[in-house]
Symmetry: C2
Subunit: 341 residues, 2 copies
């Protein structure tokens, strides 16, 4: 078995991208691969089952030297979070057929990094891309740690039905907050209200005046803003923040494909309202990961949480899925199914 | 004595101001006033000795309904922080000839509010407008509380020789930070380097590229930014903040006379650098005031601190002094001397 050769399709990153990425910036290639473990290395080879599409991956298409994560390498496969089944292992912590989550390349058979075993069958394994993966953990630390929530406060979430947003809204409801969200289609607004339990929701694309929309949906003002989009939305939110309000900056997806970012005019309000604007990455809170998994699995078991996914079927759909997610075409967490168990 | 009538010159606020205030937006009038205490009230009447010119007063010239402090009333004197001598008192805490600091109107004889006695003669009483007044306390809580400093970190201070900035820089040096400041003239830069002990200083008006200037003066990046000015400076600073940097937003004086604020383009960096941007007001930390006074008086006694003031001589100079301060014409803390002891 040691040298078994398999067909290994990959999605190759062709070159750095300026502006909106196109499908032709990536390429599906068919290669072969020997399922061989390197001697003296704790290698684990996975059969990849699911891949995650995340907004931070847009940043990795830029040749940026100062980011917290290196850019993709032109000519090599993309990589990111994924779920797989162990097919070869030199690592005593993992054995054949274990289901694991972690970092993998966008290919059918991949070395895995920073792996952990999926122990529970309470939720579908694909949830480890989102609800129980980086997105859910981002929501968890962003809400419970960065927002510093108090019961009864109002939280506003943009991109509220997305991989992160849907979890933030539900965590906030479970915690006892008044929860308001926005998204970019009637279908997503319906999910916010009727599936995720948001108290108020609106379609930002139908609001010519975002400040007025926020005043209508948050008439008492906003205590916490979970920032996923940036740009005009952030500027309008600033005007509606209450004294001592907190803005947890998770991302600014509306800006990722702009070479010059949209301007923000209302930052002066931070003084009189004593606002805290805090950018964060889930990786700075990694010590809370075990608590997060235990808590969230339990909440799913108790039927306290819902999760909506948008899974593209087949590795070849990866480039379109990733680009579509950046444009908000996905409904819920965007993933790619690469193979059956 | 009860009904003694005195000549009482006042500076009247004429009407709300759009754009840059002009001297003609204020008016010197000569009235008379009976030094009478209202029955059943804990009134204290002061002979005003010094008045403070502070940037927040520009905000009070705007008819804003949502500020933390009400606007000035057209037709009435301006008001603000000041130092005075008690001439009449119904309040058992204050007796005639006590020196006090607190809130007063811009006139020669004024009711005082939120007064405290000046107990120490370690520093000139005028310092209670600045170093030991609101400006010094703002510097104290902004640096020690909001910036969350660590020894050896780099702090950058804008408006660094101003009423607040000169204290921030000296507190940071005493604490063990590397301190960099900017100001708007060669004379001010000289003060930063040779009086306040800044490690690096530059004249921002001579820097066509603020980002390049910051890279030159803070080659390792900025851990803490004490923000006094806003606008282009803030945008350049954002690019130079280190991971986990903190921005304490004390004010944005460059924007106070703009009806539309200068845009900020670089906020997206808050995520990857995990920046905290925190607006604050000294009034939220009032429980630390006694500690502040005790500490700072002690530091002055030990000759560990310097303070530079720019005191206009005569109440009639008040309007020009206030407007000049908004334009950065002052060198050090801007005050107005109204009377001798």
């Amino acid at each position: 078995m040691a040298g078994t050769e398999v067909t290994n399709r990959q999605i190759i990153f062709k070159n750095y991208v300026v502006g909106w990425p196109k499908e032709s910036d990536m390429e599906l290639v068919t290669t072969t691969k020997k399922l061989e473990l390197r001697e003296g290395q704790k290698d684990v080879i996975l059969k990849v089952l699911y891949l995650s599409c995340d907004p931070y991956q847009r940043g990795r298409m830029r040749n940026a030297v100062d980011s917290y994560i290196p850019p993709f390498t032109p000519g090599k496969p993309l990589d990111g979070y994924g779920v797989g089944k162990v097919v070869r292992s030199n690592d005593p912590d993992f054995k054949e057929n274990d289901l694991v989550e972690g970092l993998v390349a966008w290919e059918e058979y991949s070395l895995g990094f920073k792996l952990s075993k999926i122990e529970s069958d309470v939720v579908p394994v694909s949830y480890y891309l989102g609800a129980l993966g980086m997105a859910g953990f981002t929501a968890y630390v962003g809400f419970f740690q960065v927002c510093e929530p108090k019961k009864g406060e109002t939280i506003y979430v943009s991109a509220a039905s997305g991989a992160v947003g849907q979890m933030v809204g539900q965590f906030a409801k479970l915690f006892g907050c008044h929860v308001v969200g926005s998204a970019g289609s009637a279908q997503k607004v319906d999910l916010l209200k009727n599936k995720f339990g948001y108290d108020e929701a609106f379609n930002y694309k139908e609001e010519p005046d975002l400040d007025a929309a926020l005043k209508r949906h948050c008439p008492q003002g906003i205590d916490m803003y979970f920032e996923n989009v940036g740009g005009k939305m952030l500027d309008a939110v600033l005007l509606n923040m209450k004294v001592h309000g907190r803005i947890a900056v998770c991302g600014m997806i509306s800006q990722y494909n702009n070479e010059v970012h949209e301007p923000i005019y209302n930052l002066n309000i931070t003084v009189k309202r004593r606002l805290k604007i805090q950018g964060f990455l889930q990786s700075d809170f990694i010590h809370l990961k075990p608590e997060f998994k235990k808590t969230v699995v339990e909440w799913f078991k108790e039927k306290k949480l819902e999760y909506v996914e948008d899974i593209a079927d087949g590795l070849e759909k990866g480039p379109a899925a990733l680009i579509g997610m950046l444009a908000g075409k996905n409904v819920g967490k965007q993933g790619i199914k690469v193979a059956d168990f």
